[in-house]
Symmetry: D2
Subunit: 383 residues, 4 copies
């Protein structure tokens, strides 16, 4: 039974998702980086079918995903021809690219807010996605909190693209069950109001902020130290990269969104707020999508002595997230089939840096993984 | 209710255990590095009472632990006066220090094998330990397999010190319940025959090879990668230090013992034997007990791309192990009180690099920790 | 023949200079970290005599250097009693500590500008320094350019502390030859006007920005790559520490001063402006004076292939600079004895991150060292 | 005026030299990794003409360099068609590949020693090289010391391939001036006897052991520390790779040769023999030619405090050496044109890890580079 997937944001992550998924499906590559690929899951990878992308970049809207992927990844990877059948639709903008060097126009800029929302609704009704994955550029957002607040924010234009998408999709829930998985820091699965809307309309909202890069590894290293009751004196973690995400983070407000989710792991896992500096640090164009991370952790061990650990990583940012998206999609589809609604902490705890619902703790990734695996087995999603 | 602890080996690890334990008990330092110190355990740390050390180094035998600790750690740490009350008894040698620059004489060298064993028996009967911790220098050993084989090996002298201690202690089980925890690579909890002896006599044998240093962290990093189905291309891990343990490992046969336990984690955790080079690499005297570890891991991520991670650690080897010993002792005492006998995989899986019984798999440390915690709760050892 | 040294700024660097110098003179420690200590120099280290410190922090002014050093370094190091004879005089402020958590009052705040300058002049005339070392907190400064500009800036108060000190000292040159060595980023030896003033009055002004920390090593690593014509693709360098210097750099304008000097080495050494991110990155209090540096360099080698290098350093910031100051002082004294005036590029090129006079290039440190050594030999300063 | 180059050893280094050189000549790539490419040299790179390779591997002998390069580098790089014109001739073996998994046959095995030497002589006379570069696999060798000793060793077969080549080439000097540059550890330019032979016959012998990989960088880092009189406490350096060179070093005697040259830099540059562990550490096949290096340096700085530095490198071994070979060739040709004979320390000091003549000190690379540049300018080789 096919699972129809739409992707918000035709950037690098989206392109890696599309290209990688098609390459895995055709047998060209192994499904490395897809967390549960070694397990037998209800929804096999082959069942995933990409039905559309949404973007506001004038260079992408109206193109095929094949064309867009060729431009961004063609030098690096073979682009599957099958992506010729998938289109990049115009999506919502709401200034989500403000301050960045792109020429962007959203549906709401073309048709007015009401017209634009109507247009989006129509496209969604045409492509009929089961799962919608949000990977647009990091925005600066606050939770809105209620259906009324969303309604008001949307039609006044004082809303971010992610929230607008989430709200429009919630309206579509009246016609069809849908899951939205939010892989950027915007608080969607951390917005009590939005979760309530999705619960009532029997949709699923997962998020927030896909757990890739250095933060998940930091979480596991901190858990490792916590398991030995080593007292962390300080943590410094630097990130530098050359993709749009890092470019966006040179805008201070966007950076702040990242910092919050990154920092919360310290207290959640160690149980105390060890002094730390954990931030996306800078933009360095030649690094491209393969960022450089440096981390220093210093702690007190038994008998009052001190140890130190340094981690340096060179990691491809976007494919790591794209791999997670494959399984977030498969799990979302299975959850919908079981009439599970609202948000699901166990799923968020593994896949997301800032797992909803609001107030949830960050667990270490290894713990979260095994908890999720257990839950998936209980539900019969993994056998 | 006090727990009486004896330690085999008055080297750095033993001294850190003694000094650190007394400092924690007196409130001078926090119990950092003691895994379960933050939990309420049946046996509080304050109940642990060191009743004796055993060694064969002529410079240590007959001295107080205060004197020995002052010599090895006095420059670094304050040595608690209470260690004046603990003695270093002569123990068994059986060539365990052969090839190393120490003047050693074991009980069996002074009194003959039979006389030496008798002497050891008498000292043990005098100090009446509940838990015996083995931290003598790494030997080259094979499992013996049966009571008869032990009897024969012991009295022919073709036995290692660890095995001889384990066997003599098993005989003492007729008089008193005892747990032996083996923190060196010698296969004691990995010797089916020895486990059977302890089971029959209602003693406890835990081991082997205390899980400190780079290997446990490597295990957790590999688990982190396995959880994401990242395909490990290669793993290189170097270790260099300046303590006796590293000196001993310049003797190739001793090195081999370490290498086996270090390598087994790769297959056990990843599920396939990724190409690896994981070895204690060299001896560099000025590094002392604070070794330097470098690790390189390279893997395939989603969409066929490759990532790399480098970890560098500067870590105090002996205190890390000494901290584990505190809780292995507390748990051992509680297990004995519950009439648990033989060996206990869940305990070994967290505390040991090569958890017995033979054939057991290495789990990642974080998984092993949470499994152990659950078991300790079930047994009411942790509340 | 004694060399009288005064120090501007009684912070960590100054205290390490005072404590380390006295400890070396008393034979308590070896002169490690003093570049030319192994050579026979005209001025032996023993000839250096500290005659006074200047500061504006109310907690330091009026105290002995012994007291101030005990407070800042007493936990770490033995403080020589001889520092009881050296006083911390009140110096100039001119808002150099604005925005930082210190209660500061400068002479100009106590006596008005004219009175304050007069007061400073008197103290200097009393302690009669041969060499004055500037290690006050990093300020945000622009060159002033002429004697008139200095006069006007000073008496209007629109001047920084470093510039004010430099100008007041230049007036004192009429009474006595003096060398001022500036180890902070403020452009003194990079101010054409100031150099001219010193030249005319036969004084010496060296600077700017003492070459310690990661930048000199970066310079040598880049030279290493340049010597092989490896094409640098990108350089990322992060710095994090917990001393006042890092605290000051959380004030963006101060950070900017550092960034300029750090970045100039790239083009000067490689010959092209390789993309780079080289900045003091953050403040993390527990790191204290021992900062953590991470650097990533990526380049193209022969046959179009690519290599990568990562450097991680844990380095004591202040002692490194203090060690350089010892030899900058010895060399300055010898230069004065030879009637050398203005500024001396060869000295600055080794000791400073931004060597004056303005327009000078940064050489790699190893090249600068050997050039300086040659010059010192020619002048008979080193034999 | 063309310079005719022959290469001993058709392994990875040789192939990178051939492929890279042709790609540079055709303008396909920039001459990155060629040290003096940015300077105007007497011999432009375009003048270098490869006239033949020598090897004993049955899979290579008789093939074109195009075929051999395609096999070893074809997956990684485009192989220039021009290499179809260059042949791999059978060379001398003398057990240089003993213990390694290659089927090898040398000329001396095919024709007997006398016949084999005659055969080699004939081929050389046919291809008429100006410069011969030695990059065969690392052997275990001792200097022979005199013309008679060489004669005897050669005809008894108790000689290594490098020595045999060097001696046969020395005989050819009677017909034509030639330079041999030895990039492997075998002591050729460190053999007083051989240098004398070359001097008498007006040939040039440069060597030994091409300065690539971690050692040259280590040298410069140690120089950096020495320039500040920092007292090195310890140095640990690990190397692991997956090419034939690392495979060969799993044979202990071959490893020893590397260790000696690597260790000598410590004392030569620091002036004292700081405790160190500097060794090629292991073979890990997937790393291939891009080895992983980890280095830890620990030192005492001013005021008795301690700093640490860690360097991690991922570097392509063979291209780095191949790039050096280009300029060693150009310089050798220019030296021959100036009738310079024997060996030349300044050239060796930059290009080689163990610069001849025997007794020469290792300088840091940056110093050696600038000294060489100066000499090349004096000689008019660089203008």
């Amino acid at each position: 039974m096919p699972v129809r997937v739409a992707v918000l944001g035709a950037g690098l992550v989206g392109m890696h998702f599309a290209v990688g998924l098609e390459r895995v499906k055709s047998g060209e590559i192994e499904p490395y980086g897809v967390p549960f690929a070694e397990y037998k899951m209800e929804v096999p990878i082959d069942d995933l079918e990409i039905v559309g992308f949404f973007d506001v970049d004038e260079k992408k809207v109206g193109k095929t995903v094949y064309d867009v992927a060729t431009k961004s990844l063609g030098q690096l990877l073979p682009i599957p021809r099958s992506l010729n059948d998938v289109q990049v639709f115009r999506g919502l903008h709401f200034k989500s690219l403000a301050g960045l060097p792109f020429k962007a126009k959203g549906l709401e800029e073309e048709y007015g807010i009401e017209g634009g929302v109507q247009k989006l609704f129509e496209v969604i009704d045409e492509i009929k996605p089961d799962v919608v994955l949000n990977v647009i550029t990091t925005e600066n957002v606050s939770p809105l909190g209620s259906s009324e607040a969303y309604e008001k924010a949307l039609f006044s234009g004082n809303i971010t693209a992610s929230q607008a998408y989430a709200y429009v999709l919630s309206k579509y829930l009246e016609k069809k069950k849908i899951a939205m998985a939010n892989f950027i820091p915007s608080p969607l699965a951390n917005d009590e109001g939005l979760i309530k809307i999705y619960e009532e309309k029997e949709g699923l909202i997962l998020g927030d902020d896909g757990a890739t890069g250095a933060t998940p590894l930091t979480a596991d290293i901190l858990e490792h130290l916590a398991n030995r009751n080593r007292k962390v004196i300080s943590i410094a973690q630097f990130n530098i990269g050359g993709n749009t995400d890092f470019l966006a983070l040179t805008v201070p407000e966007r950076n702040l969104m990242k910092e919050i989710t990154k920092s919360s792991i310290v207290k959640d896992i160690l149980g105390y707020d060890a002094p730390h500096y954990i931030k996306p640090t800078g933009f360095l164009e030649p690094l491209g999508d393969k960022k450089f991370v440096a981390m220093h952790v210093w702690w007190k061990t038994f008998n009052g002595l001190e140890d130190e650990l340094v981690v340096n990583i060179r990691i491809n940012d976007s494919p790591a997230l794209a791999g997670l998206m494959v399984d977030a999609t498969r799990i979302s589809a299975s959850l919908l089939r079981r009439d599970i609604k609202g948000t699901v902490y166990e799923v968020n705890a593994f896949f997301m840096k800032r797992p909803g619902p609001p107030g949830s703790k960050n667990a270490s990734r290894i713990v979260a993984y095994h908890n999720l695996l257990e839950k998936l087995r209980e539900l019969g999603i993994v056998s």
